[in-house]
């Protein structure tokens, strides 16, 4: 589904990642962990084409990401649901429209998708907030809204960057359950998080592999977690 081959990435200053190779198989559940600033977000960005590797190759859906033109990148993003760390929305549109935004921009018939949207909002527990504007939402609500927006196109792959970063333990458990459910539906999931308690909680419920970034490279974390 997504395959990184000897991928390196350096900012102006120096290398952040080097020789990273990993393959996300369809239906797998991965955690990506490591200290702050180790390059978790960068690695996710490489996966959805927001960054182009400075060396090596990123393949998504059997296509080399660096050879895609801008429209092809956009089309690829419709197949990848991304929950960003700083979930950004269109602040002038009500929540329901924000969650449906991927459908809107891809020209889907909104009338036909309305029941799906209602169901999805119910699933993330935001039905009553449908008309609220994003700035009025709490941190947890924003995270759930971002997750709902990420999955509304029924993507094959879900990338989540610190999805539980701004929420309390209970809310993070709830978000994790949502992600686990999506994985059970066959979606590939990759969560970047430094929340070890969350990772442990997940490992008890799913066959999750934990990838750790240390020393600019990616290692499969052992059973110590």
């Amino acid at each position: 589904m997504i395959e990184l081959e000897h991928v390196g990435y350096s900012y102006g200053g120096g290398a952040l990642l080097s020789d990273v190779s990993v393959r996300l198989a369809p239906g797998s559940f991965h955690f990506l962990t490591g200290p702050s600033g180790a390059g978790k977000t960068t690695l996710l960005k490489l996966c959805y084409g927001a960054l182009v590797p400075t060396s090596g190759r990123v393949q998504a859906f059997d296509l080399d990401v660096s050879t895609l033109d801008r429209d092809q990148v956009a089309m690829m993003r419709r197949r990848i649901g991304v929950v960003h760390q700083d979930c950004r929305f269109l602040d002038h549109l009500p929540l329901a429209d924000n969650i449906a935004l991927p459908l809107t921009v891809s020209g889907r018939d909104m009338g036909a998708e309305n029941s799906n949207l209602g169901e999805l909002m119910n699933w993330v527990g935001l039905s009553e907030r449908a008309d609220a504007l994003p700035p009025e939402l709490s941190g947890g609500e924003r995270q759930r809204a971002a997750l709902a927006r990420a999955v509304i196109m029924s993507p094959d792959l879900i990338l989540a960057d610190e999805p539980t970063g701004n929420v309390d333990w209970e809310m993070s458990q709830r978000l994790l359950r949502l992600l686990l459910e999506l994985n059970k539906m066959g979606k590939t999931v990759l969560i970047a998080s430094h929340d070890l308690a969350l990772i442990r909680a997940a490992k008890s419920q799913v066959q999750a592999r934990v990838l750790r970034i240390s020393d600019k490279t990616l290692q499969l974390a052992g059973a110590d977690l």
């Binding site: 960005k45 084409g49 927001a50 960054l51 182009v52 801008r70 429209d71 990148v73 956009a74 089309m75 690829m76 993003r77 419709r78 991304v82 960003h84 950004r88 929305f89 269109l90 602040d91 002038h92 549109l93 429209d97 935004l101 991927p102 809107t104 921009v105 891809s106 909104m110 927006r149 196109m153």
Partner: protein, 299 residues
């Protein structure tokens, strides 16, 4: 763009339109600027077309009309005039040769001497109006023959005083056209600035759209459509006011000469209708280029 695409562009996609927040202030500025520019363009166009007409008319008269002046003692005047007319009628390339009547000559002099002048008491030369045919007569040859047979005749083909006027009218037309080009360029520049401002004000919106898989075309169109419609509406209003202004100017009259002829004639009234269309096209291109440029900075 196909016709369907143009219709879709004009009608718009209500959903797509909502993704960019409404922008009150820049919208009004764009309307105002394109309106003002269209207003100015109407006048530049009127000036350019009027001076074009003037230049054409003068150039044509310059090429075709001439005056023969016969200064002879009163007792020989009639004979010389007749001799000159005979020569002219024999000359190939002269379509009309006509001696002006005393009343016509008095009319020509009236603006300078006043109406009560006793013309009969003055040694006013006899004028003969010559209209050239096609092909025209040979002026040098005619002069030569006249100097031999009608010693008091002087052929004035008006070149000396009409040529600089034709030049002036032509430069005026050029200035008008250059003004129209400058107005178009200034419109493009101002719409580019406004579009850039709108694009940077909505940087977050654009980023979010890009991340959820919107094509560049979709994002750009939301902006391009707004600015194009604003320019179209603003320029339409400006053109209407400009044309109203031109229509209210005093109409061309014999006495007013050049200035009162400033305006449009006949089908010329349709030309300013192109201004809003061109304005919209300029806005379309400028916004499209600005959007492309700012999108290319995003991944």
């Amino acid at each position: 763009m196909s016709r369907g695409a143009i219709r879709a562009f004009l009608v718009g996609d209500a959903q797509a339109d909502r993704v960019v927040p409404p922008s009150g202030f820049t919208a009004h500025l764009t309307l105002f600027v394109s309106g003002a520019m269209a207003f100015l363009a109407v006048f530049a166009l009127a000036l350019s077309m009027a001076s074009g007409r003037l230049a054409d008319r003068w150039a044509e008269e310059l090429a075709r009309s001439a005056t023969l002046r016969i200064s002879a003692p009163p007792d020989q005047r009639a004979a010389q005039t007749q001799a000159a007319l005979d020569i002219l009628h024999q000359t190939p390339g002269v379509a009309i040769a006509r001696a002006l009547s005393a009343a016509e000559q008095a009319d020509l002099l009236a603006p300078w001497f006043g109406p009560d002048l006793p013309l009969e008491s003055l040694p006013v030369p006899q004028l003969i109006e010559i209209i050239a045919g096609d092909p025209a007569y040979d002026a040098a040859g005619l002069r030569l023959r006249l100097s031999g047979e009608v010693p008091g005749a002087v052929l004035d083909d008006h070149t000396r005083w009409r040529a600089p006027l034709v030049d002036a009218a032509n430069s005026l037309r050029r200035l008008g056209l250059i003004s129209i080009l400058l107005i178009g360029g200034a419109t493009a520049a101002m719409i580019t600035l406004a579009a850039n401002a709108a694009l940077s004000a909505n940087a977050q919106v654009i980023q979010v759209l890009r991340l959820v898989g919107a094509l560049d075309r979709y994002i750009a169109q939301a902006f391009v459509r707004r600015f194009t419609l604003r320019a179209l509406i603003g320029a339409g209003a400006g053109m209407f006011l400009g044309m109203l202004g031109v229509a209210l100017m005093p109409s061309a009259s014999e006495g007013g000469g050049f200035l009162t002829g400033l305006g449009f004639q006949g089908a010329g009234w349709l030309v300013p209708l192109l201004i809003p269309i061109l304005g919209a096209a300029v806005a379309f291109a400028a916004t499209w280029a600005a959007a492309r440029r700012s999108l290319s900075e995003l991944s």
